[in-house]
């Protein structure tokens, strides 16, 4: 499928570049619908990869790249079942999202996330699978999971550990604070900062550069410098599930879901 439009995303390929556009209101929350569409995409990837050198991920939602996991869906699904069933469901979801994100992470293509607005939690973890992050000046990155009594569950910590200094990882994880694009650039998280509204254009220019190189050589370089942190990724799922069983987590999710005020995204 060279073109696809699903419930939460679409993709197309042109001139050796695949563009995957996230588009689920209000802020590309990653729940079952997004996961299923991402699975469709990774299912189509082998055929797409044979025709491309680069992949760009971006968002068509004004709010940003992605606000992360769909906490409302998680809460309402978990609330309808016994904790043991909820835990089984959470583990299955994590196994599936890890399979998708690991596939993106190890794609032989050069992958570029064009990020604007919020890039939080699971959305941040999706961006971290990419080789390059081009950040709009108004982008913000954050791991808010500790506010819920959890750790990031979509592979965020192992990928951050692989990519940048541990002090920055600890800062992001243990304070739950969000950082802007300038900070992300100085921390080595983003590779370019774009003027407002220009991240996708810069990502396309970067992708056009990538298409000039031999695909086999580029894929070999990527394999050499970007190993999948497989063991840490497995551990992350176990730790996440262990924490999810704590009563504080459901309380934290309830507080988030039932918060009708203006502040759910602030610590």
């Amino acid at each position: 499928m060279n073109e696809y439009k699903g419930k939460s995303l679409s993709w197309r390929i042109a001139d050796g570049v695949i563009e995957l556009a996230l588009d689920r209101a209000p802020a590309n929350e990653i729940g079952v619908a997004m996961l299923e569409d991402l699975e469709r995409f990774t299912g189509a990837l082998p055929a797409l990869e044979s025709q491309a050198s680069a992949l760009i991920l971006y968002s068509q939602q004004k709010a940003g790249f992605s606000a992360g996991a769909d906490l409302r869906e998680l809460y309402f699904l978990a609330q309808q079942m016994e904790m043991s069933s909820a835990l089984k469901g959470v583990r299955e979801f994590l196994e599936r999202i890890h399979a998708v994100l690991n596939r993106l992470d190890t794609s032989p293509l050069t992958t570029i996330a064009a990020v604007h607005g919020v890039c939080f939690g699971g959305g941040f973890e999706l961006a971290l699978t990419c080789d390059l992050i081009v950040a709009d000046k108004m982008a913000r990155f954050c791991f808010p999971e500790l506010r819920l009594g959890l750790i990031p569950g979509f592979g965020g910590i192992p990928r951050l550990k692989r990519d940048i200094g541990n002090a920055v990882v600890r800062d992001l994880l243990l304070t739950g604070r969000s950082i802007n694009a300038t900070k992300a650039l100085s921390a080595g998280l983003a590779s370019q900062v774009a003027a407002e509204g220009e991240a996708l254009r810069l990502a396309r220019a970067t992708a056009a550069q990538v298409t000039k190189f031999d695909r086999v050589a580029a894929a070999a370089a990527k394999r050499f410098i970007k190993p999948l942190p497989a063991s840490d990724l497995r551990n992350e799922i176990d730790i996440f599930c262990e924490l999810f069983a704590q009563p504080a987590v459901m309380q934290g999710l309830r507080n988030f879901v039932e918060n009708t005020g203006a502040h759910p995204y602030l610590p």
Binding site: A63, V118, M138, R140, N180, T182, A262, H263, Y265, P267
Partner: protein, 80 residues
Amino acid sequence: MKTIEQTTEEILDLAAAHFKVPRAGLQANDDFYKTLKIDSLQALELLTRLENHFGVELPDYEVQGVSDFHTLATRIQARL
């Protein structure tokens, strides 16, 4: 070094421009959530706008509970 009044005025200018509201309708002690009719995601936009303008980092836990422009200005002033 900017005075707190100057910093507050610049914040009010930036907020008015970003959210496209009349500058004259904004006062230092206004609750910006109410006056601008914004939610927390939009508050983060404002925070990013202010960080970029003033060239500071303002961790969001420092603005937890802050809802008026003047107090926001004191948080920024402390990092200039």
